[in-house]
Structures are given as structure tokens and as C-alpha cells.
């Protein structure tokens, strides 16, 4: 009797666990469904090639915002990739030193800092002194967001490289730096690139830190000292506007963004799977 009840309780709870997976997948399916179904009807070639249309005029696109997003994300990558990879190399090569632990701790801390706070920081160091919103300020904010992801990935992947590779290089008389840069880093490179890709995908979808750094711009610009429009901020502006046309544009923008992020994640997954197979095989 007691046994029966225990088994029943067990079954019920196991069912609840399966149910919770379903509960989490419902919003995922709903979000993807709405983004695709609403976005696809307003997405056309002009979305990528035209400038935003004034209120009331149908059509128009987000050419300036797409270029702006690439620009800002690119500036961020330019800052985050060298710093992150080299800091990761330090942390991996000098494992056990106090500085290496401190880097790991700092990167994890930075990873937990809300994006809006990083925006405030970028504002105070890159907007306030020059009294101007700019693509550089937005790039700085995104770069800081990428930094912990790149650092930690680089470190972890370098540690995965078999010690025999490094020892082989050292045994052949290579200096430490040479062994690291010509043998260890190339071995870990596909993985590090994957991490960079994922970091790019993540920050490309960021809005909060750009609101008051890159700000917005109705016009096309590639001048990094000027405020620049980005895909995410443009979606936000359109979403909270009262105009039907703009809402459609926002959905189209969301579709482009989600497609970009999903492509990057899938690509990263394929690379990771291949790397794992290599290691096993």
C-alpha cells in the first residue's frame, strides 16, 4: 500500500518534470512562430536596401540600421577579441598564479553585470567627455560585453589542447611564446573562433547599452564619431511607436535578428560537434 503510494508519487513527479520541459518550449515555439509569421510578410528586398520611410509612407527599410549594427559590433569585436584572447592565453598559461585567478574572477563578474550598467559606463567614458553620442561609444559598450565571453572561451579551449603538443614543441627547443603561438593556439583556434562567433551573436542582439551610446540616427552614416542607428534600437523605437507600418518593420527586424542569432548558434554547434569528434577519434 505504502509502496504503491510512493511509486505513484514518483510517477506524478516525473510527469511534472516532462511537463516543465513542455512549459518552457511553448513560449519558445510561440516567439519563433510570431517572429517568423509576422516578420516574413513585411520582409522584402527593400528592407535591406532602403532607408526608413517617414510615418504614413508605407515601405522603406532599415539599410542604415543594418550597417550601423555591423559597424558597432565590429568596433566591439576589434576591442574585445585581441584583449580577450591574450588575457585568456595568460590565464591558461599561468594557471595557478594569483593574476590568472583574478582574471577569471573579473571575467565572470563582468559577465554578470547588467548590460544597461555597461551602457551607463560607456556613456560616462565615451559620450560625456566628447559631448556627443557616437558609434565608438556603442562599440565600446558591446566590446565590454563580449570581453568575458571571449576571455573565458579562449582560456578553456587552450586548456583542452593536449599537453603533449606543447611539450613536443618545447622539446624541439621552441621558446614558451613560440610554442604557444605556433602550436597551442592554432590547435585551439576553431574552438576560439566558435566562442567569438557566439559572443558576436549575443552582443548583436543587445539594445540596452546602445540606447544612450550609439543612440540613433535617421540617416545613413559610417562615420564612427557620429551617432548611428542600429537594428535593435530601431526595432525598439518602432515597437513602442503607435504606427501600424512601423510595427510591421519591427517584426521584420526581429526576424532578421533572430535568423542571425540562430545561424550563429547552429554554426557554433556544428563546429563544436566536429571538434569533439576529432578529439575522440
Amino acid at each position: 500500500m505504502r509502496d504503491l503510494r510512493r511509486r505513484l508519487v514518483s510517477h506524478v513527479i516525473m510527469m511534472l518534470c516532462v511537463l516543465s520541459v513542455a512549459l518552457a518550449l511553448i513560449p519558445l515555439a510561440l516567439v519563433l512562430f510570431y517572429v517568423v509569421s509576422r516578420g516574413i510578410s513585411s520582409l522584402s528586398w527593400t528592407f535591406f536596401t532602403r532607408m526608413p520611410a517617414p510615418v504614413g509612407e508605407p515601405g522603406g527599410g532599415m539599410a542604415n540600421a543594418i550597417v550601423g549594427s555591423l559597424l558597432v559590433t565590429g568596433i566591439g569585436a576589434l576591442f574585445a577579441i585581441p584583449v580577450g584572447v591574450l588575457a585568456g592565453i595568460y590565464a591558461a598559461e599561468h594557471r595557478g598564479t594569483r593574476l590568472a585567478s583574478a582574471v577569471r574572477f573579473a571575467a565572470d563578474t563582468l559577465n554578470g553585470v547588467p548590460s544597461i550598467v555597461i551602457g551607463v559606463f560607456a556613456y560616462s567614458v565615451a559620450v560625456l567627455p566628447f559631448q556627443r553620442f557616437s558609434a565608438v561609444a556603442g562599440g565600446l559598450a558591446l566590446g565590454i560585453m563580449m570581453l568575458p565571453l571571449v576571455t573565458r572561451t579562449a582560456e578553456e579551449l587552450l586548456l583542452l589542447v593536449p599537453a603533449s603538443l606543447r611539450e613536443g614543441a618545447l622539446a624541439l627547443g621552441a621558446t614558451r611564446a613560440r610554442a604557444v603561438f605556433t602550436v597551442v593556439v592554432p590547435a585551439a583556434l576553431p574552438g576560439i573562433l566558435t566562442g567569438v562567433l557566439l559572443a558576436l551573436a549575443r552582443v548583436a542582439g543587445e539594445t540596452a547599452p546602445l540606447l544612450f551610446t550609439a543612440f540613433n540616427n535617421r540617416f545613413f552614416t559610417t562615420d564612427v564619431r557620429q551617432p548611428v542607428s542600429t537594428l535593435t534600437v530601431q526595432i525598439y523605437t518602432y515597437a513602442i511607436s503607435p504606427y501600424e507600418d512601423w510595427h510591421r518593420q519591427a517584426w521584420a527586424g526581429a526576424l532578421v535578428l533572430v535568423a542571425l542569432v540562430l545561424t550563429c548558434s547552429l554554426l557554433a554547434r556544428v563546429v563544436t560537434a566536429r571538434m569533439e569528434r576529432m578529439r575522440v577519434g
Binding site: 516543465s20 513560449p27 547588467p114 550598467v117 618545447l170 544612450f212 526581429a254
Partner: protein
């Protein structure tokens, strides 16, 4: 041993990469310093009063931030109440129940939840979730609406919408850490439980109990995420600075007020007041992250030592 003979080249390598390592640490310190520097006017002007008063009127120069901290904490706690059981259920399902070929796709799908940008959740929230919540509010029976928890006109935007959207965004974080933590529980723990005649749930409960510090860490990490989430919440919470228990009431959060007002804050004091909100958000999330990581790490070390002592005995008996 590598590097036992110091060479000038080694030294260069160490310093060359070390500079960048220091730079990463420098960024974190710079954020803290800069936030303090840019909020000092407000810190000195208002002191603790800033967090004890409710009137937020930038035109009159009155800055009381209590409604924002209330909104942030309330929405995050509500989100955790929804997200924690679901996230733990997912973790258990993936790591303990799902057949092997299903595990990877399930992990991928839950991680996809984390990959969708906040702005997309916000857009979806405005046009899909808020109307749904409004319907729910309209159809709430009157006797329920009399309770303080459900007071107010059914507008859709408000605490409930924010909590739901936050919980969706937090679930993947909590569940992926909980999954990792469960994976660190030695298999012999479960085998031991089964050997003593435990049902599946009882064995899993053992594993969960064994991993409790890590689980607490996972939940706290989710809390830290929820506190700092900006765009999606800003778009559905209603942006009204008021302290209310009601789930239906539009409210405001710390991150949302910065997002909405920062670009137009012209007066120095106004700007400093907003930065102070950012500073406090920074400190709170920092503390929560550090504590949760300590919890998660603490599981990693003793687990190995304990394995041989307690878990092996029942496992041996069952053999």
C-alpha cells in the same frame, strides 16, 4: 618542468599577455569607479533618503528611488517563483530521465531560449503576451479582484506580464547550471538509493539534496539575471513609479528607468541620480553573482572527497 629556466623571451611573453589580463580586471574596476564618480552629486545630496522616498519628479528636482528598487525586486522574485520549479524540472528531465539521443536536442532547445535577444522578447511581449494577460485580467472574477494582489484596472501591461517574460528569460540560465550541478553528483549516489529500494523520484531527490548548494547557486544566478534584465521588462511593465503588491498594476524597475530617461537627462543632478540607480544595480548583481558562484564552486570540491566515504558503501552492497 616548463619554464624552470627563465629566459628573456619567457619574461616578454608573460608581461605581454599579462598586460591584457590586467586590462580585463581594470575594466571591472573602472566600471565601479566611474559609476561612483558620476553619481556622487546624488549620493551627497540625498544620501539614504534617495532609497526611502517615493516621489520621482525630475522637473521639480525630487528623486526618490524606492519604487524602482521595489519593482526590480518584486518582478525578479515573482519571476523566480515561476522559473525555479520549471527550470529544475527541465534539469531533472534532461539529465536523469531523457533517453540519450533526446538529451542533446533538448539542451539545444532550452539554450535557444537564452539566445533569443531581449528586444525580441519585448516585441513579442507587447503584441502577443500583453493582450493575453489583459484577457486574463478582464476575466478574473470580482471576488478575486478585491484582493490586494489583483487590484487595479485590467490594462495588460504591468507586473504580471513582466514577471512572465522574465521567467521565460531566466529559465535557460537556471536550468543549464542545475543540469551541470546534477551531472557532478556521483552516479553511485543514485545507485545506492536504488539499491535501498528507492523509487525514481526518491533517488533523484537524493541527488538534488546532495547537490543542494549548487542548486541554490543556480537559482541565485537566475535571480541576478532577472534583476538586470532591461529591454523586455521596460516594454511590458508599464513604467509607472509606484509601490503596489498588485500583479495587475503597472510599475517600474531600476533598469527600465535608466533605459527610458538616461538619454534625456539634461540636469547634472538628474543624470547623477540615474547613475546612482545603476551603481546600486551593479553592486547588487555583483554580490549575488559572487555568492552564487561560491555556492556552485563549493560543490565541486568536497564532492570528490565525499564520494568514496558515503556513496560507495551502498553501491558495493548492491553488487
Amino acid at each position: 618542468m616548463i619554464g624552470s629556466r627563465p629566459r628573456s623571451d619567457d619574461w616578454l611573453f608573460r608581461v605581454g599577455t599579462g598586460i591584457f589580463a590586467v586590462l580585463v580586471i581594470g575594466v571591472v574596476s573602472a566600471i565601479a569607479l566611474e559609476l561612483y564618480r558620476e553619481s556622487r552629486l546624488s549620493l551627497h545630496e540625498f544620501g539614504w533618503r534617495f532609497w526611502q522616498t517615493d516621489v520621482w519628479d525630475p522637473v521639480a528636482g525630487e528623486f526618490g528611488a524606492r519604487p524602482f528598487i521595489w519593482g526590480t525586486l518584486y518582478s525578479s522574485v515573482l519571476a523566480l517563483l515561476i522559473a525555479t520549479p520549471i527550470a529544475l524540472g527541465i534539469a531533472v528531465c534532461i539529465s536523469e530521465l531523457a533517453p540519450r539521443p533526446l538529451q542533446r536536442p533538448l539542451v539545444f532547445l532550452t539554450e535557444l531560449l537564452a539566445a533569443i535577444p531581449s528586444i525580441v522578447y519585448g516585441l513579442w511581449g507587447i503584441f502577443v503576451l500583453v493582450p493575453l494577460v489583459r484577457q486574463l485580467e478582464v476575466h478574473t472574477p470580482d471576488w478575486l479582484r478585491a484582493l490586494p494582489l489583483f487590484k487595479g484596472p485590467p490594462v495588460g501591461v504591468g507586473m504580471l506580464s513582466a514577471a512572465i517574460i522574465l521567467s521565460i528569460m531566466v529559465i535557460p540560465f537556471t536550468s543549464s547550471i542545475a543540469r551541470e550541478v546534477l551531472r557532478a553528483v556521483p552516479q553511485s549516489q543514485r545507485e545506492g538509493a536504488y539499491a535501498l529500494g528507492a523509487t525514481r523520484w526518491e533517488a533523484i531527490r537524493m541527488a538534488l539534496f546532495y547537490a543542494r548548494t549548487g542548486i541554490i547557486g543556480a537559482v541565485m544566478l537566475g535571480f541576478g539575471r532577472a534583476l538586470g534584465e532591461t529591454m523586455a521588462v521596460t516594454m511590458v511593465i508599464g513604467n509607472t513609479p509606484q509601490i503596489s503588491l498588485s500583479l495587475f498594476a503597472p510599475q517600474y524597475t531600476m533598469a527600465a528607468v535608466i533605459a527610458n530617461e538616461f538619454a534625456e537627462a539634461a540636469a547634472d543632478l538628474y543624470l547623477h541620480a540615474l547613475v546612482e540607480i545603476g551603481l546600486v544595480l551593479f553592486v547588487i548583481t555583483l554580490v549575488i553573482n559572487v555568492i552564487s558562484r561560491a555556492f556552485i564552486w563549493s560543490l565541486g570540491r568536497p564532492a570528490r572527497a565525499r564520494r568514496t566515504r558515503t556513496a560507495a558503501a551502498p553501491a558495493l552492497e548492491s553488487a
